[in-house]
Symmetry: C2
Subunit: 311 residues, 2 copies
């Protein structure tokens, strides 16, 4: 249901007056409290995140740590009940698994990863509170595939379609394969998280079923995108499997087609502050499924210490 006096108006009617991009007032680094001083990030890193909206950790984990996730994918691909579920996206041609949502609830290994002391420590510093997982998934894309996705802010969707009230989330993307210039790496516009860009186009019913294939709504217009890219440039960090990207939920990002024979797979998990629990969607008629925007399992994450080699 569209709410009046919405702080982040989007999904505007074509006939409505356009709302120009505006500067956010929500903090980027939320910890003005005890969380700021207890974590792996120093003041330089916190300032960089504040300025750019992301932090890139090349080779954060050993590459060998990534193999078990492929094993889990293979196991899942044998599980017919699993394959029939909404939260599994299969390749229409080959039947191979392309994405599995809410992976942290299906896989102990993934769940432990989201509670890794280093990652969770950084995220608490950035969000200044306890956190939970808003969404998670594994993406497995073969070479010469992977359709890419156009520029967007995740927060715009989470606010409009999931009812996330404020900008107080951090996304983590962990590379399961090498990331290079030609296999469609994640691209970001530094500094774009400082602006909210209202988007035109009302949310249709069950939009998520289409938007998982190709996002057509919640896409900023070219004028706003050009302003952002001319101001901040574009970056596409490269690195080996095991590299980690932490990015603010409102940072504009995109991905081009994978034009190489080299696969591009990654884990994606979103932390939201426990002080920023979902409400009713701000610009959609009904909530999305729990595997896209968690409402049930919002207990604060506790650190998991049984990754000795990662500590």
């Amino acid at each position: 249901m569209k709410q009046s006096n919405d702080a982040f108006p989007s999904r505007l009617k074509e006939s409505e007056d356009r709302v120009e991009p505006f500067i956010r007032t929500d903090p980027v680094v939320h910890s003005g409290n005890e969380y700021r001083w207890h974590g792996p990030l120093d003041e330089v890193a916190l300032s960089k995140y504040e300025r750019d909206g992301f932090l890139w950790f090349k080779g954060f984990f050993n590459q060998e740590r990534m193999a078990p996730f492929f094993d889990e994918l293979r196991e899942m691909s044998q599980d017919k009940e699993m394959l029939a579920s909404d939260q599994v996206i299969q390749d229409p041609n080959t039947g191979d698994i392309r994405s599995v949502f809410a992976m942290h609830e299906l896989s102990d290994h993934f769940s432990r990863l989201t509670r890794d002391p280093r990652i969770l420590g950084m995220v608490r510093q950035l969000l200044g509170s306890e956190v939970y997982i808003h969404q998670s998934r594994i993406n497995d894309k073969l070479g010469f595939e992977g359709s890419g996705f156009y520029w967007h802010s995740d927060f715009e969707t989470w606010h409009s379609e999931d009812g996330m009230p404020r900008m107080r989330s951090v996304s983590a993307s962990l590379m399961l394969t090498d990331n290079n210039e030609f296999n469609g790496p994640l691209m970001l516009i530094p500094g774009s998280h400082h602006y909210f860009i209202p988007c035109v186009g009302e949310t249709p019913d069950l939009n998520w079923q289409e938007s998982l294939k190709a996002q057509r709504l919640g896409v900023p217009d070219q004028k706003a995108l050009a302003m952002m890219a001319n101001r901040g440039g574009i970056q596409a960090p490269k690195g080996p499997a095991g590299s980690l990207m932490l990015f603010e939920g409102n940072t504009l990002h995109a991905s081009n087609l994978n034009m190489s024979p080299w696969p591009r797979s990654n884990l994606f998990f979103v932390y939201n502050s426990v002080d920023n629990l979902l409400k009713e969607p701000y610009a959609a008629k009904s909530e999305r499924p729990d595997f896209l925007g968690a409402r049930k399992n919002t207990a604060p994450l506790t650190m998991h210490d049984d990754f000795p080699e990662l500590a």
Copy 2:
């Protein structure tokens, strides 16, 4: 008309036995004669071209030299007769000019460029003979546009659809705008020119009208492409406006979507040896128009010396 005993069989019927990629026997550098010793390229450059199938000249011309080509595009966009011609491709939405073919016949400025002593000198060295222009065009693509194109060998099309007998051509691409990682730069597979990859799919009538929009025929299969990319890697040279790419007509190349607000425009002109004139198409029913594969104007190019600042 499909010819038997074709040295470069392609556009195979789905039902036919596949023909595996095979090593070319045609020379890459053709000048075992007087042409080898009279030109700008030294033995190191000739060896590099022989090995990789391309040579990149960053900042070959001053950027200021590129401006007149945009002026000519603007003039053409006022010319209604011109716009109605088959050789002009307009943007279906805006009506802006996207491509103009046979530009060297329309523009003195472009014609002189193709006869620039440095470029023509290099091309004669590579092809070991006098040369003429097989095809030329100007491409003007805005930011966030430009659909990109998938991996292909130009020679495969010129042989199959234009009747170009042997591998004895060089393509030149002159950048009118800066080329960067995000505006869909030309990508090449070094060394791929050493192989001919027969492609599956018969050529339909008037295929060129569709193939100018999106190439679906003459596309190597993924197995062959993976072999080439794993063997030679992928390169996408970057540089300012005025940079020049010379590449062998059989080198596999592609281009991704322009995900940036920065336009990507270039001039493209193909030199063919006068000893390699077009015959009947090897795998198509009829010839393509002259502006795509020249049959009329095949007189040897003569050097033009009135670019004092380029000499």
